[in-house]
């Protein structure tokens, strides 16, 4: 243990070392060309020479400006502004306001100069020289132009006015005819600043600094070097310095050393939206399970830093904040441990809680930037996951459905052209006896043109759904036939009208004609389809439960004898289910028996795959296969489970197989190694060209959704990037590189525990 004297001595030594280091740095800096250039540039001020025109002086001297007539003073101000903009690389657009300057005005020379200056900055020296050839040699614009042109001469370093006079260059019409020492000095400075750029030469040194540690992306030497470089060149090459700062911090983020990363984020400036590097720090915290600290950085970034970035438009600021919330919410909800993985796979309560956290993040995201479509969609996906819980009770279901409807209302308010949420909202509102609200949305959809068959048929849906709603109460029954007639008139061409007579008969039954459905001559040869259509129509037309009972019994009887159902009967039934699904009109009892019939069909098709391939072009088979796909028969939420005959990429060239594969792939809950389905996307896009109105939209929509889920797209569960914290690395080769529990130097370094 050190005594007081020893401590003081140590402190003194430290101070002495610090002073020595600072002195050495100062000496280094004072001798550096960068510092001399900076000092030289800081001394460069425009100075009036004797007899110089007041109009020219007025561009840098306010007293001279005050002496000008109002008209000339205004022109001088315009030239000042334009010059300032051009110096900031604001291109030729900056010159537009100068069009008010007449050719006889003393400022016409400045307008000419600025035109050439824009060309010169754009690297077009010949065009610049051409424009400047008409400048008055006795005035300042000509001298500036001459300096700028001379700066590009290869012999500038040894050029003297005498040599220039002796050379032939000045004889070219576009070159200055005579020069003086001041022009050469100015040209030298321009050359150093814009052409030679010592900073670029010096910056290349950073690539040659050796990596002192294996696997390091940045070392302390790099950091020290870049700090010195920043001090030297920060003032004259801010963009270069900024780019080096960003790349160094990004490299440190990709590296394995926590302390190096922390030094970088503290020492170097971050990107335009986040100068304090808060975002990258928050990502680092999240990935190293320090979420509270990460949240602190996010809140600071979104609440304080982003709104202060006046260089960004408010829209970009809000979109950035919104995207940050979504990203962090997804990472927060992602599995971080084996326990989380089990929760996720078996949908235990823990995962539900995580999803609720994600909902909070998403809510913040859409509140900040309501046009964030992906966030709205994700909110509804989460609610749908909860609605899919088979143990959910009616009260809970109603509550969740109401919540989803509110989300859809907010969504369509923010993005009125989004169709899907509006269509779902119409269904919900009609089901809940809020037809006035629904009508507004129907009118909106009917009044606009969208490439969506459901929108095109919105008046038909409205009539049919309204007819169904009006059967809720006896008092309204008289209004139903008009709506049913309207629905019949508007029935879409792409949809089978087989169900319509059943709906009309079910209405009769609702009105008190007990034989209406029984007397209906069978519209189909399939008894099971007949039974299901009757039950579906009766339920949709609000037939009382007592009269539903025999209809239920008929379906239950068919279900008991499902093994005796022929393949054709089951195909017809499944095709009817597909029709119901695509117009979103499944009846409530469907979930009790529908999947069971489909299961039988799936089993039969599995055993008769050759028959299936033979009949694949039949519309009936297409509808049946899509009904199966819609009910998750071709995936188990984690991987595809297509029929063997559908598994070869050759079969994906058939549009029906492609659509089934695509639908199944989209339903896979987590993208853990979906096969590359590019061929499917291509097939769907081609099939969409030659299909009916419904399938044209359906195939394109499937292709879009599948495209978004391709394996090469990043999953939403990780920020990626940080090697040390890449917990769920599927590359087995790297798994042995470090161990969270090992204390060897390599593993400690990988965990960022080794000090520098």
């Amino acid at each position: 243990m050190a005594n007081k004297a020893q401590k003081q001595a140590r402190k003194a030594r430290q101070k002495q070392t610090k002073r020595r280091t600072e002195r050495q740095r100062a000496q280094r800096r004072s001798g550096s060309p960068a510092l001399r250039l900076r000092v030289r540039l800081s001394k460069e001020k425009p100075e009036r020479w004797r007899d110089e025109r007041t109009e020219d002086v007025a561009l840098f001297d306010d007293q001279a400006l005050a002496q000008l007539s109002p008209e000339l003073a205004e022109q001088a101000s315009l030239v000042r502004t334009a010059l300032s903009l051009v110096c900031q690389s604001h291109g030729a657009d900056a010159l537009e306001p100068l069009s008010v300057i007449s050719r006889r005005s003393p400022y016409a020379d400045w307008r000419l100069f600025l035109r050439g200056f824009v060309d010169w900055l754009d690297g077009k020296q010949d065009a610049a020289a051409q424009a400047w050839s008409r400048l008055d040699p006795a005035r300042r614009p000509h001298r500036i132009a001459a300096s700028l042109l001379l700066a590009h001469r290869d012999d500038l370093a040894v050029l003297t006015p005498v040599q220039y006079a002796g050379s032939s260059n000045h004889e070219q019409p576009n070159w200055p005819q005579q020069i003086d020492a001041e022009l050469i000095q100015g040209a030298n400075l321009v050359r150093r600043v814009r052409i030679d750029r010592v900073a670029i030469r010096t910056a290349k040194q950073i690539c040659d600094i050796p990596m002192e540690l294996e696997d390091a992306q940045v070392t302390p030497t790099h950091i020290r070097w870049l700090k010195d470089f920043t001090n030297e060149f920060g003032a004259i090459e801010p963009d270069l310095v900024q780019a080096l700062h960003e790349v160094t911090t990004s490299r440190a983020f990709c590296g394995r050393y926590v302390d190096i990363f922390q030094q970088c984020v503290k020492s170097f400036r971050g990107p335009i939206f986040d100068p304090q590097n808060l975002y990258i720090q928050a990502v680092f915290c999240y990935e190293s399970e320090q979420q509270e600290t990460g949240d602190k950085w996010i809140d600071k970034l979104i609440g304080e830093v982003l709104p202060q970035q006046s260089g960004l438009s408010p829209q970009i600021q809000k979109a950035l904040g919104s995207s940050i919330y979504v990203r962090f919410g997804e990472v927060d909800a992602a599995p971080h441990s084996e326990y989380d993985m089990i929760n996720l796979m078996f949908n235990f309560r823990g995962q539900t809680n995580k999803n609720r956290n994600l909902q909070k993040y998403l809510d913040k995201a859409v509140s900040l930037y309501p046009k964030h479509r992906a966030a709205w969609r994700r909110m509804l996906e989460l609610l749908q996951d909860e609605l899919d819980d088979p143990q959910l009770l009616k009260a809970g279901r109603d509550k969740l459905e109401a919540k989803a409807a509110k989300v859809r209302q907010r969504w369509v308010k923010a993005l009125p052209d989004d169709i899907e949420p509006r269509l779902d909202l119409v269904d919900y509102l009609l089901e809940h006896d809020r037809s006035d609200e629904a009508k507004k949305h129907v009118d909106f959809l009917a009044g606009n043109r969208y490439d969506n068959p459901l929108v095109d048929s919105i008046q038909w849906r409205w009539s049919l759904l309204e007819a169904m709603r009006l059967t809720c109460r006896k008092a309204w029954l008289s209004q139903v036939p008009a709506h049913l007639d309207e629905a019949e008139r508007l029935w879409p061409k792409w949809l089978s009208a087989e169900w319509l007579p059943y709906l009309q008969a079910a209405y009769e039954l609702r009105c008190g004609n007990p034989q209406a459905l029984q007397q209906l001559s069978p519209q189909t040869t399939s008894s099971v389809l007949d039974a299901c259509m009757k039950l579906g129509a009766a339920q949709k037309m609000h037939v009382p439960s007592a009269e539903l009972k025999p209809l239920r019994q008929a379906v239950d009887g068919a279900l008991k004898n499902v093994k005796s159902c022929s393949l054709d009967d089951l195909l017809r039934l499944a095709s009817f289910y597909w029709d119901l699904q695509r117009v979103r009109m499944k009846y409530p009892a469907y979930r009790l028996h529908g999947p069971k019939f489909l299961k039988r069909l799936h089993s039969q098709l599995k055993d008769n795959q050759f028959v299936l391939l033979d009949r694949i072009d039949e519309p009936l088979v297409r509808g049946a296969l899509l009904a199966l796909a819609d009910d998750n028969f071709f995936n188990d939420r984690y991987r595809l489970q297509l029929f063997d005959c559908f598994n070869s990429p050759e079969t994906w060239q058939h549009h029906v197989v492609a659509s089934v594969a695509a639908k199944a792939a989209i339903q896979v809950y987590m993208n853990w190694g979906l096969p590359n389905l590019r061929a499917v996307i291509t097939t769907l896009r081609q099939a969409a060209l030659s299909s009916d109105a419904f399938y044209r939209h359906f195939y394109n929509s499937l292709a879009d959704q599948l495209d978004a889920r391709q394996p090469e797209r990043s999953t939403p569960y990780s920020f990626g990037g940080n090697e040390a914290l890449d917990f769920y690395d599927d590359d087995d080769d790297d798994d042995d590189e470090f161990d969270y529990d090992c204390d060897c130097d390599d593993c400690r370094a990988a965990r960022g525990e080794l000090e520098w």
Binding site: A94, A181, N188
Partner: protein
Amino acid sequence: MVNSVAIRLQSRNPFDVLGLSADADEKAIRERYLQLVKKYPPERDPDAFQKIQNAFELVKDPLALADYWLDLPSPDSIPQWSDVIAEQASQPPDMSVEFVLSLGNRKRTDATEHHVRLDAAHAPAAPHLADSEDAADE
């Protein structure tokens, strides 16, 4: 206020590619895009057109831009210093207005003479900054 600046096709910042400041509004972005598409039509300069198109896709959609900016590098694509240095080498720094105007200065002592005569016999020897500076650099 004019929002456009000189375009920098090599830049990774989409605003630089379009020559716009990052606070440009929707109208300015669209106008600038149309201007550039006219200047760099796909049949004449497909590379430039593609870069302009890609930048426009990002700049016109704040969310796409946010995603682009928020994407972090992965260990498979670690950014290289040499790349940014090469990119910056093609983008010289701006010059200040004062510096540009000062390029037209004359020596106060020579104020009466507007020009050094290009007569070799009468031309004064030029104090050569570059020589002395470069010598010091060495």
